[in-house]
């Protein structure tokens, strides 16, 4: 069996499962967040249970609406806080201790290798970075899992990406994500599949890069993305893990629907063209294109390693005067770590605006949303029309390194040319 099949078998009390099989599995953690959370608890309340299945394993996070930009959202947040309190939820990451839910789930050890966790936001696929099955679900699914500790799954076929070679300077996991997006197409062949990443270039990636890769598998249409746990996973989880776990990995004779090979030695800084995530170019092909807004943050690229990368590029220099650059760290912990490392000072001195952790403009809700005519260079995950605000804005998606290098010149710039 593949790692995803094994996780589904173990957590549904079976020796074996096969793709296509329908199983109910135990759930490690259920996440819900501010703008859907009140509805989730309302749905839970209608099921006939007085308490959630485990108050330690329902995780509540404020991320999309904080800090509230409108009175309506402030009111919604108040209702959400009441609902969390009424259900006696033990882990509530509210404004002041907040972060983007998917970052919080992994960073705070709520996701454990060899288990399944779900969340009411599409990028729950991020949890695969620690060798877990992470899945995005609706309010109804989350309510069912809160009541029963279970969720239903159709065991997916596994597609493997075997990643080899040596990472080149200024090339990041995001470039690999976008490269694969270009290979497979957004609208394409990976619907319902599980994507397993392995190979030496995956072992070389830190947890931040692994999270970026798994995060964007939802944008490939996949059910989940997963990377088997290793010593790096164990070291990352050891201070924070909420429970014990076992190594679960794919068997040597696991059956894959298809195996793709990518050698990162040849991978270059990569960019997605506005409106079309899978219309992917080498950055050198669009070099010189003007833009006016730069954004680094999100559950895709708002981690310490990403902030370190942009600080390395911008330290002692100045963001071009025609560019507004916003950085929104993915969690309070990351924000603090970046302050302690001196990155935030370097970035503010370079002319970067830094805001408290949230989904920010990636959800088009607040903190630097795009207006008519804006051309945004974003390290986020989606660029369909209107994603960051106005439908009359253009969004290029790329790595934090490309955003930072371009912010210096005011035009799209390959960081290798700095």
């Amino acid at each position: 069996m593949t790692i995803t099949e094994k996780i589904m078998a173990i957590n549904s009390g079976r020796d074996k499962v096969v793709p296509g099989q329908l199983v109910w599995t135990n759930i490690q953690s259920v996440m819900t967040m501010d703008y859907l959370g009140t509805e989730t608890f309302k749905a839970f309340d209608s099921l006939g249970k007085s308490e959630v299945f485990d108050k330690e394993r329902v995780i509540c996070v404020s991320d999309h609406l904080v800090p509230p930009p409108t009175p309506a959202f402030a009111t919604l947040l108040n209702q959400w806080r009441e609902a969390v309190k009424a259900h006696d939820i033990k882990h509530f990451y509210d404004l002041g201790r907040q972060g983007i839910a998917h970052q919080i789930m992994v960073e705070q050890g709520h996701v454990l290798p060899g288990t399944l966790s779900i969340g009411t936001d599409s990028h729950a696929n991020t949890y695969g970075a620690v060798g877990a099955v992470g899945n995005a679900v609706s309010v109804s699914d989350a309510a069912v899992a809160m009541a029963t500790g279970k969720s239903w799954f159709r065991v997916p076929e596994t597609v493997k990406f075997h990643i080899t070679g040596k990472w080149q300077p200024w090339v990041m996991a995001k470039d690999l994500s976008l490269h694969i997006m270009g290979m497979m197409h957004w609208n394409g062949h990976l619907i319902y599949k599980t994507i397993e990443f392995d190979g030496p270039a995956i072992s070389d990636l830190g947890m931040a890069g692994r999270m970026t890769l798994c995060n964007m598998t939802v944008d490939l249409g996949a059910k989940n993305g997963i990377i088997a746990p290793d010593a790096k996973t164990a070291a990352f989880l050891s201070p924070v893990q909420k429970g014990s776990w076992n190594y679960v990995t794919s068997d040597a004779d696991a059956v894959y629907e298809k195996v793709y090979e990518v050698d990162v030695t040849n991978l270059v800084p990569t960019i997605s063209m506005p409106d079309k995530l899978d219309e992917v170019r080498r950055v050198e092909e669009v070099q010189g294109t003007k833009f006016n807004k730069a954004f680094v943050g999100t559950c895709t690229n708002g981690r310490l390693e990403d902030i370190e990368m942009i600080a390395k590029i911008l330290k002692g220099k100045q963001v071009h005067r025609d560019v507004n650059f916003m950085l929104v760290p993915a969690s309070t912990q990351i924000y603090l770590d970046a302050i302690k490392a001196g990155y935030i000072t370097d970035l503010i001195e370079a002319g970067v605006a830094v805001d408290t952790p949230s989904c920010a403009s990636c959800a088009g809700i607040h903190t630097g949303v795009a207006g008519d005519g804006d051309i945004v260079l974003s390290a986020g995950n989606r660029n369909m029309k209107g994603r960051m605000g106005s439908k009359n804005a253009q969004i290029y998606l790329t790595s934090p390194a490309v955003v930072a290098a371009s912010a210096l010149t005011g035009v799209i710039t390959d960081p290798r040319n700095l």
């Binding site: 509805e39 309010v139 069912v144 009541a147 279970k150 619907i191 059910k223 989606r382 209107g386 994603r387």
Partner: protein, 177 residues
Amino acid sequence: MTIKGKAWVSDNYVMSYDMVLQKDWTSPINKEENAKWIMAGVSDEFNQEGAFRDAGYTFIVARHNFAGGGKSIEHCVTGLMGAGIKAVFADSFARLQFRNAINYGLPFITCKDIADIARTDDELEFNPSTGEIKNLSNGKSKISVPVSPFVAEVAEAGGIMDFIRKRIAEGTVDELR
């Protein structure tokens, strides 16, 4: 028993982002309310309160990856149901909304190239037992992929919430595996 009615056929890729505009993501989940603005971003003609609902369609016919783009919110499905949609036929469905449709018992029926035999306002007839989708306006028909027993069971129960409610009341949740 067959279902008969008028179809809306998409000539483009229909995204969840266009089915439910950003301003409506935070709305309560309610079929009647969600039907007021469902499909508002899909075309200009639907971008008015109740426009898609009042057009009186029973079916949607689409091509690949219907409701893709990544939203997991179930408003996409509750909105369609509130607007009177009884089934959606497409080459494939984005998995987040496919799951939601299963949870609500709204048939999302896979049928290759179904959009080749239908145009907007054609009258279709769907037979859930045989899987046949017949276009009564031009006489053409196709056979769709059968739904799995689990999907039928959830639909029969009235959706995943009722399916679970019943098991909680009976004390049989532990039997789910």
